[in-house]
């Protein structure tokens, strides 16, 4: 049973808090009992090993119990967060779901059968069934085109949690359908820690959850950390319990990292690295203020080919349901992340797909954004490429200004270009700069690097 080691650990700490949900604590004893109830419920609903099951939930006590019971039964789990509501039908079709479980914020539960239109079983599902292993299907949020459905053997993903870490009170910031979110939950519960779920993912809700429930670890994204800095609200909260902030999912601005270190000197900052396709790798930042990190260990191998990181690991997905194999001929996963290497340290420059090729020079949006965001009048910048008949592409930027600054578009363009000339090459300097007061991020707190339609 793939979750036996987890349940044994839960029993050892049965009186401790496992989950804080809507301000209420739920113990490990409660969780064990709820997993048992879910097992019965799933059995009644004919959810067996290999049944592809949608689980629409957040990290609520029942959401977590259902997830663990599904793993225990060997089901193929397709987790979805509330934010995917409008894509749900498409995803269910793609993942050939047979049963849908929905757990709402008030913990009401509904389970119903779906009509899968697939005539034949997908070979990856057949592979999981043949070894009676639970599966996990995650959709990678590609910036263009159809989302890719990555199929994992859940047993392999769980293996790294067999060795318990430090039991920390950890905030569940990343979502239920995000590899980072699942990693946070499994790591925290697997170590006997406590998962604190904020009432929503706003800066205020996260800050008050940290203060009210003595959160020690905040796994989040650079975009969210910037939002946190922008609102000086964070100064109104008692964040003394916070020991570590981990950030991943997108490149971090060195300037923002320096400011964070200055504002929160008692907090250690650590960069994480993970992808829907490979899981979350163990990482070690050079230091709190550095964007360089070591990756790997635990049987994870790394290599760099044409400046792109490739990974070979036990927890890599089996493949995509709906896309060609992203593995090299010799079995390495090609991440698409362009990296710099310095000895055993890596620095992620950005997604290959986001690289702007200006007349043969590769420009990484994150690098340009970091420079623009050094300007005092700039709140946030998003850099993207625009097709150009002469250079192939040109660099453009959308900028959200700090309240109180109201330059014209032309004045801003001149100021941005003047500033960038001191830090960037001629081809990296944005040609078109527009003011966008609504500049924001997607529900996963990542920047959307696209031209506006």
């Amino acid at each position: 049973m793939p979750t036996r080691f987890l349940q044994e650990r839960f029993r050892q700490v049965s009186d401790n808090d496992a989950i804080v949900w809507q301000g209420q604590s739920f113990s490990y004893a409660w969780l064990l009992d709820a997993i048992g109830q879910w097992d019965t419920r799933l059995s009644e609903q004919a959810v067996h090993a290999g049944t592809a099951t949608t689980l629409v939930a957040d990290f609520s006590p029942h959401g977590v119990a259902a997830l663990l019971a599904l793993i225990q039964r060997g089901a193929i789990i397709v987790p979805m967060s509330e934010s995917l509501r409008n894509k749900r039908h498409t995803y269910e079709q793609l993942a050939r779901c047979e049963v849908a479980i929905e757990i709402t914020r008030d913990e009401s539960i509904s389970i119903h059968k779906l009509h899968s239109t697939a005539a034949t079983e997908h070979p990856l599902y057949a592979k999981l069934k043949s070894v009676s292993h639970p599966g996990l299907v995650l959709f990678s949020s590609g910036s263009t085109g159809e989302p890719k459905a990555a199929v994992h053997d859940f047993t392999r993903l769980l293996d790294k949690f067999r060795i318990a870490g430090r039991p920390l009170r950890t905030l569940a910031f990343l979502l239920f359908d995000h590899i980072g979110g699942l990693n946070t939950i499994l790591h925290t519960l697997g170590s006997g820690g406590c998962v604190v779920v904020p009432s929503n993912r706003s800066a205020e809700a996260v800050l008050s959850a940290i203060q009210d429930f003595a959160v020690q670890l905040l796994p989040t994204s650079p975009t969210f950390l910037k939002l946190l800095l922008m609102r000086s609200a964070w100064q109104e909260y008692d964040l003394r319990s916070l020991q570590m902030i981990t950030y991943g999912t997108e490149p971090m601005s060195p300037h923002i990292l320096a400011v964070l270190n200055e504002k929160l000197p008692h907090v250690q900052f650590k960069q994480t690295y993970g992808l829907s396709e490979v899981g979350i790798l163990r990482s070690k930042s050079k230091d709190s203020s550095s964007l360089w990190m070591k990756l790997g260990g635990d049987g994870v191998e790394t290599r760099v080919v044409d400046n792109v990181l490739q990974i070979k690991s036990h927890s890599t997905m089996l493949g995509y349901l709906n896309a060609a194999s992203p593995f090299s001929d010799d079995g390495w996963f090609i991440t698409g992340d362009a990296v710099q290497v310095d000895g055993e340290y890596f620095k992620v420059l950005g997604r290959g797909g986001e690289i702007i090729n200006v007349g043969g020079e590769k420009v990484y949006p994150a690098e340009v954004e970091a420079v623009i965001e050094m300007m005092p009048q700039v709140d946030t910048a998003t850099v993207y490429g625009e097709d150009n008949a002469i250079m192939g592409m040109i660099v453009c930027a959308r900028v959200k200004l700090v309240v109180g600054h109201e330059p014209s578009a032309k004045e801003l363009t001149q100021a941005v270009r003047r500033h960038c000339r001191h830090h960037l090459t001629a081809k990296q300097i944005p040609i078109r700069v527009t003011i966008d007061p609504h500049l924001s991020h997607d529900e996963r707190f990542k920047k959307q690097r696209r031209p506006q339609s």
Binding site: V358, G359, N388, A389, I390, M391, I394, K410, Q414, R417, R418, R421, A426, K427, I431, R432
Partner: protein, 102 residues
């Protein structure tokens, strides 16, 4: 003011912005014969593209419709419309006068 004069005026302002980004000793004259491309031009490719993008933006704002100067068609004309200030003004005038609001 006819459209050619108006475009010359807009181009002059865009050209001034370009000069503002260049060092004191590398200022360019906004004369009809000032070369924009080729061996006699002192503009590098990224400056040329910046100039064109800014000119397109200013023309589009001024005439209230999208004006594109640097497309495949313009690049492949036998006599380059980008040769010098005069040829670019003439080309931009033709584009503006034949463009529709789409």
């Amino acid at each position: 003011m006819n459209s050619s004069e108006k475009i010359t005026e807009i181009f002059a302002a865009v050209f001034q912005d370009l000069n503002d980004e260049r060092p004191e000793e590398q200022q360019l004259d906004f004369d009809p014969g000032t070369p924009l491309v080729g061996s006699r031009s002192s503009l590098d490719s990224i400056e040329m593209v910046t100039l064109l993008v800014n000119l397109e933006t200013s023309l589009s704002e001024s005439f209230g419709r999208p004006i594109r100067l640097s497309d495949e068609k313009a690049m492949s004309e036998t006599r380059s419309p980008f040769k010098n200030v005069a040829t670019l003004v003439a080309f931009a005038t033709k584009v503006v006068e034949t463009s529709t609001d789409d």
